[in-house]
Symmetry: C2
Subunit: 397 residues, 2 copies
């Protein structure tokens, strides 16, 4: 297997993509992306936000996925189309209809029910539908099979992201997986503010795709937690074209999808809003994997831990205070904590030299051993910086 | 009833207090406080942090309160004495022993088991016990019955607080309640990083005090949530001297204790670390009070809501996204939100003029009506500002 970052959704055989500036964003930056599956097959799977307040495109795409097949995904930045009521849902529907009509004109008979829609941006405003619909006409003509189409699409879904995120895996068995992602804030469990489209050219069933996707997201995007906030628009889609005609085992497919998701999750963390530290928090010695995950997530969400790490301050007491409120099995007198491999707390007490551990680098590893069991889990997170506050205090203005 | 803020724990009859600089803080600021109950009775109640990682003084004071009586409370700032192991617990014990011995020398036969201990400051370091013990000798001689003793004590428990917090209530029935509080960060459910000592001169049982205290804290300190962090040291104590010989009903006592706690909670919110906005979040129309409380707390903890309000940005979509992840009964299509009385979201959609609501003042009222039931609850919180990040990124250095 070979993983690269300069290729994305068009790395697998049988996919075209494009990204254009349709005028949805006031800035004039690119804001509309299309991923098109040329087939010969169209199996697909998706996972969506667990937020009860779901954006219109999420409600639409959940319906569409019931058929377990997709011809295309249309994505826009510049507006989330969330909290926009029945009219907002109608806008999503109209967008899918328009994509289907243009693809049919272009020569591929397509129904709206084969088109997923993803949106990202400010919650609460209607999209400028004249621009979206005109953009759809344009983007269907723009779409290209080369790698540049995938890269253009990855740019068009960016909001506060500073760089596009792509990854592609070329399997020794002659098949491929590609992906693109956006998301920089509102990143939390149950998926981040995150739009991810994954593509592959293998010949597998929709059920196999679904299994691989759920296994991968549970261990990657679900374990990325920047600020505990879960978006109204989170969507991860996996499309297969079958164009390579290769048939991997479920294990091979799982491993490949996991590898691409893991790489994209790492890219999301590295570009999170205001990030100055990339932090991996591992809880080991837990009574169960669930406990380990809850413990790691509780630490990852603690504002006092996150501000201390922003300040490169090895204030390990805050890690203890944070895990102490996690609803998990623990004994405060056996907890061991290390920062970047240096023990700072042993048996619930400070270790020699704990206040002198150097956390000035950009990567910080926090390791907590509860010593009550054998289970381990990790969460990727970031620090709470002035940049995070700055970026989020004036997002809608 | 009359509530004033220039009097504290010595406002009721039968209490002396003092605050001194014992040298625990490197800054030389005052750092040791004593509250002494002259009797004739000593009934007391307490509530403590729910954090599983409990500081030594919390473990000690929980034991002491089993007798439901207290002669004195000794409090220090400059160190939390948390995560300090058996030696730290021994330090707390020795402090209580020293207070008991000095009070006995002074003429009031006292046992260590009648002395509660509270500590606040950095987690993980042992206290300078030579300074603490010498300070105890000094402070017992310093303690005075006038109001200035209470004020000195309120100053001595400050950490990142910028002002001391006191409140006193003079009841028309001829009895009094007084209190002091500290706490500015790590303020969360299950009590804030908060030390609070309340005093009263009524003649009631320890069980009555306990009832009044639990009812009051559940509606005040437990509903103050600055950053979702719960300290290892939270302690709220209520001591009664019986010196007024007045016997209020439980309802009268409940109302008075609630009023003082409510006022202290408001003072804690107003002085929270980095606060630029004082925010009250109310969720009404909930299926249960529990649901309303969880909903309000979820919004109060959301970093994206808190940064938007820091920026005076009426980004109501973030309130919808936040409550959507709360594990409560709701229908996204009926939610109504108003900011400072102006509707910004009606039936889950943006209201006319929602983006123009003025949030530039220091006080912000967020009101969410779920319209699924009749229950209501409010949480006090603050914004997430540059000041919060600044103050917490270098606390231990």
């Amino acid at each position: 297997m070979k993983l690269v970052r300069d290729q994305g959704v068009t790395a697998p055989l049988g996919f075209r993509a494009a990204g254009i500036a349709a005028g949805i964003k006031a800035s004039g930056k690119s804001d509309l992306a299309l991923v098109f599956n040329e087939g010969p097959e169209y199996a697909a799977a998706g996972v969506f936000t667990t937020n009860k307040v779901k954006a219109a495109p999420v409600r639409w795409s959940e319906q569409v996925l019931k058929s377990a097949a997709l011809r295309a995904v249309i994505l826009n930045s510049g507006g989330a189309n969330a909290c926009t009521g029945p009219a907002g849902f109608q806008d999503t529907h109209a967008t899918a209809e328009k994509v289907a009509a243009e693809l049919s004109n272009w020569g591929t008979e397509t129904g709206a029910i084969e088109v997923a829609v993803c949106s990202t941006g400010l919650i609460g405003d209607r999209l400028p539908m004249d621009k979206v619909l005109a953009g759809v006409t344009e983007i269907v003509h723009e779409m290209a099979g080369g790698l540049s189409g995938g890269t253009d699409a990855a740019y068009a879904i960016m909001t506060t992201d500073t760089v596009p995120k792509q990854a592609a895996l070329h399997h020794d068995g002659g098949w491929n997986v590609g992906g693109m992602a956006k998301g920089a804030g509102m990143l939390a469990p149950a998926l981040a503010t995150m739009l991810v489209v994954l593509t592959t050219d293998v010949k597998v069933s929709a059920a196999q795709l679904d299994t691989a996707l759920r296994r991968a997201t549970a261990r990657t995007f679900d374990r990325l937690d920047v600020d505990g906030a879960t978006s109204t628009n989170d969507t991860v889609l996996l499309l297969s074209s079958c164009a390579s005609e290769k048939v991997p085992t479920q294990e091979e497919l799982d491993a490949a999808i996991l590898a691409v998701c893991d790489d994209l999750a790492e890219q999301l963390m590295a570009d999170a809003e205001g990030v100055t530290k990339r932090i991996v928090i591992t809880v080991r010695g837990a009574a169960s994997e669930e406990d380990a995950l809850i413990g790691a997530r509780t630490i990852a969400r603690d504002s006092l831990v996150k501000t201390a790490l922003f300040g490169s301050d090895p204030n390990w007491g805050r890690v203890l205070a944070a895990i102490g409120i996690a609803p998990i099995t623990l004994d405060p007198d056996t907890i061991m904590v290390s920062f970047n491999g240096s023990p700072v707390c042993v048996d619930g007490m400070g270790a020699e030299g704990a206040r002198e551990v150097d956390l000035s680098g950009a990567d910080i590893v926090v390791d907590v051993d509860l010593k009550v069991g054998d289970a381990t889990a990790s969460i990727r997170t970031t620090d709470l910086s002035h940049g995070y506050v700055e970026e989020n205090s004036a997002y809608s203005s």
